[in-house]
Subunit: 313 residues, 2 copies
């Protein structure tokens, strides 16, 4: 059974059936717009696009995987401000012959990513296209905290990391070479596990700047350095290269550090803190902030592309 056989409104009804409205939703899907609680009088919002063939491949990712990953990217942006996610709005453009199983799986994956966070898919839009494009807008609640922007880092502070680096990039390289293992790397690419709770925890612990690592650690620390008007140096030895990643890199003839330093999509969080701050659980110091500009690794410029530009190359 395909999308065109049940029609636009049939698909929307099935998506609504597969998603749950949780506490902060005052009016869920099915009307012209949703209404979501914004208890402290502000709403945090971020949007991301996912294009078939660029952000995902249907032969690699199940619909459920795509739903989880698309939700994860937007939710991670919300947590990087120190906020908790409340609602997602999802635009879907897809071919008329898209199986209903696929749109069902997408809805279930989106809902599954939201569930442990108390967030909900509150609205969406469906249109037709010759391939699948998904937009996800996430809304969030700062819970009376100040947003943690990219601009608050200051000389003398430490740079800390929560979550994993390079796993998704390693999994992508494995898949592009035609392999399906190591599974842990491939699964990290298909279904990231961002450290969502680490964002609000960092805000509570006094993080001075924070960013979702989606373009790659060096590129994203570069955004913090630019926005804050500081220099950042990363201690290479502080970055974890797990054995499975090192082995895969050797087998594939690539440099595992490049995955770790430049790979995005794991949605780790990087933040800066006063040197005396007690870091919350899950955060590790990986570098230092000083006067100046730019990002270095062990005091040296990194020799290679530092992150992902959708229009580069």
């Amino acid at each position: 059974v395909t999308v065109s056989e049940v029609g636009e409104f049939g698909v929307i009804d099935r998506v609504i059936d597969r998603t749950r409205q949780r506490d902060v939703v005052l009016l869920g899907p099915g009307d012209d717009a949703a209404v979501v609680a914004a208890n402290d009088g502000r709403v945090v919002a971020s949007t991301d696009m996912f294009v078939e063939g660029r952000h995902f491949r249907r032969d690699w990712s199940s619909a459920h995987d795509v739903g989880r990953k698309a939700a994860a990217a937007s939710i991670a942006d919300i947590t990087a401000m120190g906020a908790v996610p409340t609602g997602l709005l999802v635009g879907l453009a897809c071919p008329a012959d898209t199986p209903l199983d696929w749109t069902d799986g997408l809805a279930e994956g989106l809902d599954e990513e939201c569930r442990p966070l108390g967030a909900s898919v509150v609205g969406g839009d469906l249109s037709r296209d010759d391939h699948i494009t998904i937009s996800v807008t996430a809304l969030g609640d700062l819970q009376r905290r100040k947003p943690v922007t990219r601009a608050g880092a200051a000389a003398g502070q430490v740079v800390a990391l929560a979550g994993r680096l390079g796993w998704s990039a390693a999994g992508w390289t494995v898949l592009t070479r035609g392999f399906r293992s190591p599974r842990a790397l491939v699964e990290a690419h298909l279904r990231p596990s961002p450290p969502y709770g680490a964002g609000p925890a960092a805000a509570l612990a006094g993080a001075t700047a924070m960013i979702d690592v989606s373009d790659g650690l060096l590129a994203d620390l570069g955004h913090v350095a630019t926005a804050s008007g500081v220099a950042i140096d990363v201690a290479g030895a502080a970055l974890d290269v797990p054995r499975s990643m090192a082995d895969a890199a050797q087998a594939l003839g690539v440099d595992a550090y490049r995955w770790v330093l430049t790979g995005g999509e794991d949605h780790a969080l990087a933040a800066t803190f006063d040197a005396a701050a007690a870091l919350p659980d899950g955060w590790t110091v990986i570098g230092r902030v000083s006067a100046g500009s730019g990002v270095t690794v062990d005091g040296e410029p990194y020799d290679g592309p530092s992150g992902f530009d959708h229009f580069a190359g």
Copy 2:
């Protein structure tokens, strides 16, 4: 100069330069997420997708037109709840050879539609695709009012309309037949003029149900009838068919009433009110609510497709 020549971040910088952050924006574009005021502790949100070749054609619409129209569709959904728009988040996927003039024009069109309303483009995402797809998520403020849903219509109430019907559909027909005039119809298709203020005004005047007419009057009143568990009858004589539209219909050999009854994209608002209510300026009674189900015109079922389904045909 194309998008790929300045890169992802270059385009984003240009969009930021071309959009203004107005009062309700607490943190605008350039960070992981935006922060927008939600003064009454709630946020209204709606999302729409615009796919090149389906929702717009670059040979018919300028980039500026596309920006205005894409903004209008999401903003109209916000006003249909009785809310005022505050912020837009815009996802753009486009080919690497998209001219920078086009993305500049899009940003300017989005901002122009927001300006008189006090709303702002607060965030976005840019990705690559083989054609242009735009997602627009609008946020809004209910200003302490109850949201006006589709579900509050009751027998004995009147149905009223604000804004125009059929103009966009007529303009589309004109364009598909290879003509560029009557200009008023063509321009209505390229740049809708939704009656934004009529939504909050209707809410203040006690509207019991309201909907943005985006699928066509009969289809959208059908949504109200279903959600409210009522029947709706439209008085054909109450619907305006202006002379230019009647003339164009005759010249093209089509039925102007079909444009009026089933055309979307003008983003008129339809609402129900108690029969004794004083309607705000700009609202006209076009029908009545009674017990039962379904939508009729002058007491008869309408003979023809009642609206637009992206997957029909």
